[in-house]
């Protein structure tokens, strides 16, 4: 997006109104006004989502897809409204391509298990990248162990950008899946996902994109990307905890066997043979997290009302401001300096353990994450025990960044 267009968008981004929507941001922590910069872990919820949760329990609580009674019907309808909203949100072709899961991790495990059962055999290869979250490493590792398949890793350079030449070299007739993250949770890198998908498709290989750190920051269009599978979590996009989405192209979801057995996922059950339900229910065994499923719609409404283009423009501006301010701190080194980045500032300070900084910042009411961010291989590549990570959301401000910088300076004084 051009800088001029960004300026126009930023002008009508009403940060005061947005902040007012998030009641938790008004609280104090350790006697200080909260500065919440751990949005990569989870975001706070707007009043609209909180109200939807209360409304669900006060007015409609009932199991879905089961009863003929009134409440069951309205809760089922509401649950299916979410499915259609997700469909529109990521621009899927069909509503039944949206599988409601417990979260991004759940979606990846589902896919690794079910796709693996049908399509992965001894000697086959799965490609992931060097910057994956453990959630997009371990399920594939488990599948490889189970099947005698081999996990291949796309390396990255010191800026935290994937080596696309190496990626192309890894693709072969043995490659059965490419599973990569859209945005790195530890580094903030936005990967060239369209290019990754196109290359995999030339090789006849489907692609899973982990969009857990993407959907809340930038517009995702699964048809434009031509991605085969995509996962994300509700709680990182201002929605409830315990719900997520697995998108899959219809042809793939029909081709892979179901995941867990149980209620809702069957057509007919006898002791001799069970036939499975159609999409999407084939992959949704048991009573789902109904409340979270229904209230995810409120989070999508919220994101769309503000607009992802505007959110991205605002967050990009804030990221640039934060990067400049942090780099001015003596001894601070940014981990993850890719050209295309989103909302993550991961850094270390010379001579100081990230954990010590995290403890002092907490005393100042500033919430950041310290440690390996569930991406140990990334830390190993940089030969560091972990980083301090400030991750931004649409409600963060330059004042938050100034408080962070002042907090770090105070911590450094105490710790060095």
């Amino acid at each position: 997006m051009s800088i001029n267009l960004n300026r126009i968008i930023l002008k009508d981004f009403d940060i005061g109104r947005i902040r007012a929507d998030f009641p938790l941001l008004r609280r104090e922590v350790n006697g200080k006004p909260l500065v919440y910069l751990d949005n990569g872990a989870t975001t706070q919820k707007p009043q609209q989502v909180i109200d939807a949760i209360i409304h669900y329990y006060q007015d409609m609580n009932s199991n879905v897809h089961r009863g003929v009674h009134y409440l069951s019907q309205i809760s089922t309808d509401a649950f299916e409204v979410t499915r259609r909203k997700v469909q529109a949100f990521i621009h899927a072709e069909h509503e039944h391509e949206i599988i409601i899961t417990k979260g991004a991790t759940d979606g990846i495990n589902l896919l690794a298990q079910c796709y693996g059962k049908a399509f992965v055999h001894a000697g086959d290869e799965i490609i992931i990248s060097a910057m994956e979250h453990h959630s997009n490493i371990v399920p594939w590792q488990m599948l490889c162990e189970d099947k005698g398949a081999v996990l291949k890793v796309i390396p990255m350079n010191s800026d935290g950008e994937l080596d696309m030449e190496q990626y192309q070299a890894l693709l072969s007739p043995k490659t059965k899946m490419v599973a990569v993250t859209y945005v790195s949770n530890a580094l903030g890198t936005i990967n060239p996902i369209a290019e990754i998908i196109a290359l995999a498709h030339q090789n006849g290989t489907p692609v899973l994109v982990d969009a857990a750190q993407a959907v809340q920051h930038l517009k995702v269009d699964v048809q434009a990307l031509d991605v085969d599978f995509l996962v994300f979590s509700g709680h990182k996009m201002y929605g409830p905890t315990g719900v997520g989405v697995l998108y899959g192209k219809e042809k793939w979801l029909n081709a892979i066997p179901p995941y867990q057995g149980g209620g809702d996922m069957i057509k007919d059950v006898t002791f001799e043979k069970t036939t499975y339900n159609e999409l999407p229910f084939k992959f949704e065994a048991g009573t789902p997290n109904i409340e979270a499923g229904i209230c995810l719609a409120a989070a999508i409404d919220y994101l769309e009302e503000i607009g992802l283009d505007r959110i991205k423009a605002y967050e990009d501006d804030l990221l640039a401001y934060a990067t400049e301010k942090l780099l001015a701190i003596e001894g601070l080194k940014m981990i993850g300096t890719a050209e295309h980045k989103s909302s993550v500032l991961s850094f270390v300070i010379k001579g100081i353990h990230p954990y010590d900084v995290g403890v002092i910042l907490d005393k100042l009411g500033i919430a950041v994450r310290t440690g390996h961010h569930c991406a140990q291989p990334v830390m190993d590549q940089y030969r560091i025990p972990g980083t301090i990570r400030a991750s931004l959301a649409m409600y963060n401000t330059r004042e938050d960044i100034d408080a962070l910088v002042a907090g770090i300076e105070r911590a450094v004084k105490m710790l060095l």
Binding site: H353, D356, G358, V359, P385, G386, M414
Partner: protein, 139 residues
């Protein structure tokens, strides 16, 4: 001094510091007084699991008493280890195993530290007691 006498003394010391910053500065200072672990023992087998930062802890028995040396790569954690060592080092295995470490709560550490950190502290206590238990057989 008994374990409880040391705990009571620490509770008194900490009562001086009403401001959290002074309290943490004191903890960091205590870290500098920690009897350091010999480099040869800085191995994985002496690492305490459950801490975000690394903590190495080495026990040895001398004249029926357990002495701990330790280190950490984070200075606040090092201060916490130092506190634990101050309280438990130099006592009989039986006294260490039986000890009730009420001072952690009373100096406001459990309450003010993040859950992972509190767990780290608990892992430390657990490991020190396990070592004492193992050494009990040798007394």
């Amino acid at each position: 001094m008994t374990i409880n006498e040391i705990q009571d003394e620490l509770i008194e010391d900490f009562a001086f510091y009403t401001d959290w910053m002074e309290k943490y500065e004191y903890i960091i200072q205590l870290g500098k007084e920690l009897p350091l672990i010999d480099e040869q023992y800085k191995q994985d087998q002496y690492l305490i699991k459950g801490c975000q930062s690394k903590v190495w802890l080495y026990p040895h028995l001398r004249e029926g008493k357990v002495y701990f040396t330790a280190d950490s790569d984070a200075v606040i954690t090092k201060g916490l280890v130092s506190l634990m060592v101050k309280v438990l080092s130099g006592h009989s295995p039986a006294a260490i195993v039986a000890s009730d470490l009420y001072f952690i709560d009373q100096i406001g550490l459990k309450e003010h530290l993040s859950p992972t950190r509190a767990n780290g502290l608990l892992s430390m206590v657990k490991q020190m007691k396990l070592y004492a238990m193992a050494l009990q057989a040798k007394v």
